[in-house]
């Protein structure tokens, strides 16, 4: 066992850190998700990352990659540093592009789709939204109703999708649809790439309580060329599972939770309220320490997942689910604690110029609501741990 990065990995980490300092503008730092209002700024940064060759290291040369081995660690370090550098939105964009969509395309798509999309992904001149959820289908994604029926050499898509982040700012939507008429649940599903500006698509953006935006997407008689089908028709469920496990592993970085908390502890060291030094209060000290344990636990699970992925050539689905569920479990408690320690000042938002720590903790408190549901909430991730990890029986499908 070695908890140290190799000198090469360490050098890469420092290079990424320097890049973040030099090239990422402050307005898009501290943003936990992709903010529609800064899309162009973000894409500029992602293109600079692409220009450094950091996106395509593991991809085969014929699609514009570098065909290198042992890159999971570089990918891990890149995303980890972006989270630590408070540029989670960039990390998420990269995750969508390279880890989820690019990798899944590489593994299951037709040669034509690979040629069309992968070079653009590696150059970061394309944006995707992930188009799964519907008003009546959240965790139970197998219940989706959106249909895509073949008519000549086009699919005709009808249905409504919900919470489709960046649908209004993307070029394509990576979509889960039902291609077999009358099919139920896992059967008859397919994945396809739908061009966002196709006739018949209406996107309706709205704000979440943490300020980020997401969209409803209404699709009426939308025509999608047959070539945009990803993988096999009717095999959408297994393709989805592959994409989802990549998503959980790469998208869910615990530093998004522990980073703000570590900075909070740093703030407490010198903070005073009406002449009282917060760091001297024994109850505060005890509770911060207790929360610190749980932060270390989360970071540790992320490392376990990364190590198993890198050294065993294995998709750490169970470890990633553990990391994700822990993130959900810890999100509110750490915000509760920070707000408690800051007393009423913790409730002041970033809009108030006098808010300590730029109103971060009011925002963190609201952010936590999303942690419970994004990427499969607490309950679903625990189900993955129990059934895939511990071998317990299935309780539903």
């Amino acid at each position: 066992m070695d908890f140290r990065f190799t000198p090469e990995e360490q050098a890469f980490r420092m290079e990424v850190r320097q890049f973040i300092e030099d090239e990422i503008p402050d307005v898009i730092k501290g943003v936990e998700e992709i903010h529609s209002s800064h899309i162009e700024l973000e894409m500029e940064v992602v293109r600079k990352i692409a220009a450094r060759g950091w996106l395509g290291a593991a991809y085969p040369k014929e699609y514009g990659g570098r065909g290198e081995n042992n890159v999971p660690m570089t990918e891990y370090i890149l995303l980890d540093e972006l989270h630590l550098g408070r540029a989670a939105g960039i990390s998420l964009t990269i995750t969508y592009l390279v880890s989820i969509i690019g990798n899944t395309l590489l593994s299951i798509a037709s040669e034509d789709l690979k040629q069309r999309f992968i070079p653009r992904i590696l150059n970061a001149d394309i944006r995707f939204a992930i188009n799964y959820s519907e008003p009546d289908s959240g965790n139970d994604i197998a219940s989706i109703k959106t249909s895509a029926m073949l008519d000549g050499d086009q699919y005709v898509v009808n249905g409504t999708k919900r919470f489709i982040t960046c649908a209004d700012t993307s070029d394509y939507m990576w979509s889960l649809v039902r291609t077999e008429k009358g099919s139920r649940r896992h059967r008859g599903l397919s994945i396809m790439l739908i061009k966002t500006d196709s006739p018949g698509i209406t996107t309706i953006p709205y704000k979440m309580m943490n300020g980020i935006e997401t969209c409803d997407v209404i699709m009426e008689e939308v025509r999608v060329p047959k070539e945009n089908l990803v993988g096999q028709e009717g095999q959408g469920w297994s393709h989805l599972m592959e994409a989802l496990s990549r998503e959980r592993f790469t998208m869910i970085n615990f530093k998004g939770v522990s980073g703000p908390f570590d900075r909070f502890v740093q703030w407490v060291r010198t903070a005073e309220i009406d002449g009282e030094h917060l760091a001297e209060d024994p109850v505060t000290r005890q509770r911060l320490a207790r929360q610190h344990l749980d932060m270390v636990g989360g970071k540790m699970m992320q490392l376990i997942a990364a190590s198993r992925a890198v050294h065993n050539d294995y998709v750490p689905t169970v470890e990633a689910a553990a990391s994700k569920s822990w993130r959900a479990v810890q999100s509110w408690p750490k915000a509760d604690l920070a707000v408690e320690v800051m007393r009423s000042y913790g409730l002041m938002t970033e809009e108030d110029a006098n808010a300590p720590i730029d109103g971060l903790w009011a925002a963190e408190y609201c952010w936590a609501g999303h942690e419970m549901s994004g990427a499969g909430g607490l309950d679903l991730n625990r189900k993955i741990i129990a059934q895939q990890g511990l071998g317990l029986p299935r309780w539903s499908n």
């Binding site: 908890f3 760091a279 320490a289 317990l392 029986p393």
Partner: protein, 392 residues
């Protein structure tokens, strides 16, 4: 960054597991709970035979000279069968303190004897306030007749009445700083003036309160430098705490294994209870914490093995594993229903041991106060430090 076990470590764990599973089947472990001597004394010679008593001693004293990480893995295996032995007190604490601070002559006398199973040395450190810090030590040693006279009392001393010798920490001078003025003495367990009062405790382990009533100790039996014992005790206790986390992890893992198996077999409402989502939630949560704690122990062990400052990591691991192992054994008991609550349930020794060890070498609350000092009062492991160590 690589968190995988080495081939040697896998072999170490496999051979330990093979031996312990056949020597300590669960039904036996449960029967041993009613042994009059308070622990399965016949198992100690077998542990000795396996060579484990020398795990962290140099070869010069008959040891295996393995790492703290390896010792942690070995203890994890012992935890998986809830094996009760004097390993903590004799090998990890007293023997290790003598290795850290003793003279060559003392090491040659004591360490091979421990390795060969010919001697038990109990660890007379903790006192009335039951905390593993220097300030807790109030026993005094005053210089007299070319030696020292010890007075005071030691609480919760494991294997005290079974031991041949006892390593006593006492105050040889007063100081503002509680970490100054401590000295270690290697004392014959039958020396005049030592009295034992057997304690009745929850887990299967002999413990006693040791009273020192003007016990005379020759100055040749001082271990390390006079007044400077904390510099020996502190690293010794750190090492033992980490290795103990391995044992606690083993307890939790085995209890969860039992619970997982039971919930696949036990049928209620015409289905295995493990098919109920609530049951899956309990198990998934307990598995998650147990696994995190396991690697937090490895991390602390790795820091010690690599001479990297580890005070925060050790305290964090002990507190976290303390909570995790207690929770896991509680869940395991709960999932066995009424059977879990019977006195001879297979989970019971694990439940008791986890609680016992949560308080051994400092409770969770105690270690949290240490963590608070480390993260609030000192430069944090935090963000501005270089990230060459993966967890920071």
């Amino acid at each position: 960054m690589n968190l995988e076990f080495s081939e040697e470590q896998k072999m170490l764990m496999d051979s330990a597991r093979g031996f312990l599973e056949s020597a300590c089947p669960l039904d036996k472990v449960r029967e041993w709970e009613s042994l009059p001597e308070g622990y399965p004394s016949h198992m100690w010679p077998r542990v000795v035979e396996m060579g484990w008593t020398g795990v962290i001693y140099p070869e010069a004293y008959g040891g295996l000279d393995l790492s703290i990480m390896d010792a942690t893995l070995l203890m994890r295996e012992m935890g998986r069968v809830a094996l009760s032995t004097p390993f903590l007190s004799t090998v990890l604490l007293s023997g290790r303190a003598i290795l850290e601070g003793g003279s060559e002559e003392q090491k040659k006398d004591v360490l091979p004897a421990i390795v060969e199973g010919k001697r038990l040395v109990s660890f007379g450190f903790s006192e009335a306030n039951a905390r593993p810090n220097a300030a807790s030590v109030k026993t005094t040693a005053r210089a007299e007749d070319g030696g020292y006279v010890l007075s005071g009392s030691k609480h919760f001393v494991e294997f005290a009445e079974q031991a041949d010798q006892i390593l006593i920490a006492a105050r040889t001078s007063d100081s503002e700083d509680p970490e100054q003025g401590l000295t270690l003495f290697l004392v014959d367990a039958r020396a005049p003036g030592i009295h034992y009062e057997t304690l009745k405790i929850m887990a299967l382990q002999p413990q006693a309160r040791v009273t020192l009533d003007n016990v005379y100790v020759d100055s040749g039996n001082v271990v390390g430098e006079v007044d400077q014992a904390w510099s020996v005790l502190n690293p010794t206790i750190q090492v033992a705490t980490v290795v103990l986390c391995g044992y606690m992890t083993g307890l939790a893992e085995r209890a969860l294994d039992m619970a997982i198996n039971y919930s696949k077999e036990r049928v209620q409402y015409e289905q295995p209870i493990g098919a109920f989502q609530a049951i899956q939630n309990y198990l998934a949560a307990a598995w998650t914490k147990t696994t995190m704690g396991e690697y937090m122990a490895y991390y602390a062990a790795w820091l010690i093995d690599n001479d990297i400052s580890s005070r925060e990591a050790v305290a964090t691991a002990k507190a976290f594993v303390g909570y995790a192992s207690v929770e896991a054994t509680q869940v395991a008991t709960q999932l066995h229903g009424g059977m879990g609550a019977t006195a001879d349930a297979r989970t019971t020794p694990f439940l008791k041991w986890a609680k016992q060890l949560q308080h051994t070498l400092g409770s969770c609350t105690y270690h949290e106060t240490v963590v608070a000092q480390e993260i609030i009062d000192k430069d944090p492991l935090g963000l501005d430090v270089s990230h060459s160590v993966a967890l920071t």
